[in-house]
């Protein structure tokens, strides 16, 4: 195709500057100011129009006003942060100049570039990391509040309504945090370098993805001030139809989150499939890249189901629609299906990137090739394929389609096969390796332990009779925390300590990091093992009060939660102090072979002066004279020597 139109990317630098003065003045603060003004103005207009006795639908007035204000906040924020500058200039035929592009990339802007609509993938990666850690902290504080409340039976700190709201907010904030905590920071920061690219395929879409997510956080926090969500994060109908206006904010937040995720997923897929370095066939592509790509595909096809469910919830609430209200022809099973068609793939959207990060670093610290690398790749692809066929196991006790319980039990049990394959790859890689027990490797061990327990207890729950007993019990809470927190979060922490030096140019404090690791692991297992026992004894989940016979288990869980909190604070301290004062890192402190370790730490604006050519296996450890890449102008022998020096460290 004889097409030379790349104006939206780079050719515009041949054109003369068309100004861009406004664009250069916009940042996060202008976004917040414009967003708040838009939200307040729209709220008062909407309240005037709809929350008055003359309105026939007065009952829906507050919902309509909240929805309008939340949407105005998002649009106002995006206008204020400069997200729409480029599209409107495209519309007007005034493409951005090279100077504009360099400004958007953050060149010469210091720390200020982190607060702008910056297109450099490394800036976006850092933005995602900070956002994920912040939201994770908020979710953690909510978790501590919940555990403190459950330390003793009875009314305690607060009543059931507040408790339900806290559980719902904890759930959704943690789900969003865990979805973004690996793909966001490392899919953006590391993946393009890992494949030998200078940036993502669509740098502006990359920034748009992040800045569409940013205003979602205040929206979720606003839920608490709008009456909360009594439904938990699943937002089941018909309770969601009856919930206070906090549910409107929740739904708008989810819709924006899905849009942000979709934009990000498309960008990651196109980047991974079209921008790999010369010689990087799929067989030579690092497993982390494959994991991020597979996750993006899964998210792209699964998350819109949640979006539709939330739009229908909003219409039920604000327009008296009849999607989930049985007396008007709706069905709550419709919502349950829409939700779980998204919900179970979403578990793998969380798990696969963390698992891929663990798979990525295990050969580095075992000094062995990735055992059965193709098996791992097949396992990831099989997880993606099977994950869309298992949703109804979440609905075994709902009464929906009992005849399908058998097939869904079978598909759910089948999914343990690719999971087991990945486990086999990890164990096989460690087996008889020259183990180099640095902090990332500790997290690999932690991941294996926690995820093994989470996975095996999941097989119990896939069994219909067992699920009938356990579905409403605390056992399920313990199971999914073992997978999502013990597996995915530990994997995400491993990714932080592994790639920290590449992002910051400084080494992570391994001493405090090790204390943090053991503290978290002990606290985590104490907390959730006690929940398993309480659950098996019959304690229901999602309850603000409980029978005193479960007191000891709850006290142990609460004590364990405080230990986790101490570990998390230690990790946070290690992260911040290392970022500020950690020892300067070399380009390749782990002696790894993937491409990100061939560039300085932190990498320069465009990563590579000359793009590398991939010549071999990314995990060829222990194989003499194997390197993954060559660089023009540097003899291969010298590169082998440099790599060997890294190996010896």
């Amino acid at each position: 195709m004889a097409d030379t139109e790349i104006v939206s990317h780079g050719t515009a630098h041949a054109e003369e500057s068309t100004g861009g003065g406004l664009m250069r003045r916009l940042n996060m603060w202008t976004g917040i100011v414009v967003g708040v003004i838009a939200a307040v103005v729209v709220y008062f207009i909407a309240a005037k129009l709809w929350v008055n006795p003359d309105n026939e639908n007065m009952a829906q007035g507050p919902d309509q006003a909240v929805i309008a204000a939340e949407v105005a906040w998002v649009i106002g924020f995006l206008v204020g942060v400069g997200a729409f500058v480029a599209p409107f200039r495209w519309l007007l035929g005034r493409d951005q100049t090279h100077d504009d592009e360099m400004f958007l990339a953050g060149k010469g802007q210091g720390v200020g570039r982190y607060l702008r609509f910056t297109t450099d993938h490394k800036v976006v990666g850092v933005q995602y990391l900070v956002l994920a850690m912040t939201t994770f902290g908020v979710g953690g504080i909510l978790a501590m509040t919940i555990r403190t409340k459950l330390a003793s039976p009875g009314e305690g700190l607060f009543g059931g309504q507040i408790y339900n709201g806290l559980v719902g907010m904890h759930g959704i904030i943690m789900i969003v945090s865990t979805i973004i905590m690996v793909v966001g920071p490392w899919g953006n920061f590391i993946m393009p370098i890992m494949i030998g690219a200078r940036d993502m395929a669509f740098p502006r879409l990359n920034a748009l993805s992040f800045w569409t997510l940013f205003p979602v956080v205040p929206i979720f926090l606003s839920v608490a001030f709008l009456g909360g969500i009594p439904t938990g994060w699943v937002a089941y109908a018909p309770l969601s139809d009856q919930a206070p206006p906090g549910m409107d904010a929740f739904a708008v937040g989810i819709i924006m989150f899905v849009i942000s995720s979709g934009i990000g997923a498309v960008n990651l897929i196109v980047t991974a499939t079209t921008m790999r370095a010369h010689g990087m066939t799929w067989n030579r592509t690092p497993i982390f890249v494959l994991g991020v790509t597979a996750t993006s595909v899964l998210g792209l096809i699964a998350l819109p189901c949640f979006e539709v469910g939330m739009i229908e919830t909003l219409l039920d609430r604000s327009q008296e629609a009849s999607f989930f209200v049985p007396e008007q022809g709706g069905s709550q099973w419709l919502y349950a299906n829409l939700f779980w068609i998204m919900g179970h793939p979403e578990v793998y959207v969380i798990l696969i990137p963390a698992t891929a990060a663990i798979l990525e670093m295990t050969p580095v610290f075992s000094r062995k090739p990735l055992f059965g690398a193709r098996l791992a790749a097949m396992g990831i692809i099989a997880l993606v394929a099977l994950s869309v066929l298992v949703w109804a196991h979440h609905m075994f006790v709902s009464g929906w389609a009992p005849t399908l319980a058998g097939p869904f039990m079978l598909t759910t049990e089948l999914i343990s096969i690719p999971t087991g394959m990945i486990f086999l790859v990890l164990i096989g890689t460690i087996w008889r390796g020259r183990i180099w027990t640095r902090l990332p490797m500790l997290f690999v061990y932690g991941f294996l332990w926690n995820f093994m327990i989470g996975g095996i207890t999941g097989i119990f729950l896939s069994d219909v009779p067992a699920d009938n007993e356990l579905h409403g019990a605390l056992f399920v809470t313990a199971h999914f925390h073992y997978t999502l927190l013990g597996g995915a979060m530990i994997g995400a922490m491993a990714a932080i300590v592994y790639w920290f030096s590449k992002m910051t140019g400084r080494m992570f404090d391994e001493r405090i990091g090790t204390w943090s690791f053991y503290t978290i692991m002990i606290g985590f297992n104490v907390t959730f093992m006690a929940m398993f026992f309480n659950g098996l004894s019959g304690m229901p989940r999602r309850v603000a009060d409980y029978d005193p016979q479960y007191l000891i288990g709850n006290m142990i869980s609460t004590a364990g939660a405080y230990v986790i909190a101490i570990g998390m604070l230690l990790f946070l301290y290690a992260t911040v102090s290392s970022w500020r004062n950690g020892p300067i890192a070399s380009a390749n402190p782990w002696g790894a072979k993937t491409l990100e370790w061939y560039v300085p730490s932190p990498p320069p604006l465009e990563n590579f002066e000359h793009l590398p050519v991939v010549t071999g296996d990314a995990y060829g450890y222990g194989e003499p004279n194997t390197i993954h890449t060559t660089h023009p102008g540097v003899p291969a022998v010298a590169q082998v020597a440099a790599l060997a020096e890294g190996d010896a460290s």
């Binding site: 139109e5 990317h9 050719t11 196109v270 792209l300 629609a321 009849s322 022809g329």
Partner: protein, 204 residues
């Protein structure tokens, strides 16, 4: 090695680092296809809603006592106008491929005007519809389908005006028309959705 010389990011690279145009074109086409796949999942969920609630007919309220069937002629008129706009756009796209600027500008202008007409007709349809969201699940689902299509038509109008305007400014020629092709994918997809929506309306 030539690959090294030409492989590059585009967003903020100096000219020597610019990505090969054919790669950029390939990326843009692929991204649009992926967006359409996500949109297709969204549309499939709405169809699932329609047929699931229709099949269940909970409490006989699929078609509530106050509900009326939406005017089929208006539904098909809007679908027809949308399809015609896609045909006009395609004609414009073929024009730029053949380096016929006048055909391109005429085709895209007609396409944009037809989208404006489709938007106007859809708004008219929603303003005069004999049903409300609260008239049962048929009414709710059909109004949702219509509203969703309206939002998509507004997006199409934005990018359609952009294509037409950029064409006027001489941004496209027979060797440089990838944006026209990529936007075309979205245009044809919306025309297909309009037809599928019309067919769905036959199954009250």
């Amino acid at each position: 090695m030539s690959t090294i010389e030409h492989h590059s990011d585009a967003g903020h690279s100096p000219e020597s680092h610019a990505l090969p145009p054919e790669l950029v074109a390939h990326q843009q086409r692929r991204s649009m296809i992926l967006f359409i796949i996500a949109d297709a999942v969204y549309f499939a969920c709405i169809l699932l809603t329609y047929f699931y609630l229709r099949a269940l007919n909970v409490d006989g309220m699929w078609f509530g006592p106050d509900a009326k069937v939406a005017d089929a002629w208006l539904i098909w008129l809007i679908a027809g106008v949308t399809v015609l706009s896609a045909i006009a756009y395609r004609s414009g796209e073929m024009g730029i491929r053949a380096n016929s600027r006048s055909r391109f500008q005429t085709g895209t202008l007609v396409a944009v005007l037809l989208v404006v007409a489709a938007i106007g007709l859809t708004i008219y349809q929603m303003m005069t519809w004999p049903i409300l969201m609260s008239d049962g699940s048929y009414a709710s689902t059909f109004i949702l389908m219509t509203g969703t299509q309206l939002v998509h038509l507004f997006i199409l109008l934005f990018i359609g005006i952009g294509i037409w305007n950029r064409g006027n400014k001489g941004k496209f020629d027979d060797g440089k028309y990838n944006h026209v092709t990529v936007v075309g994918y979205f245009w044809y997809w919306l025309a297909l959705v309009a037809i599928l929506g019309g067919l769905t309306s036959l199954l009250v």
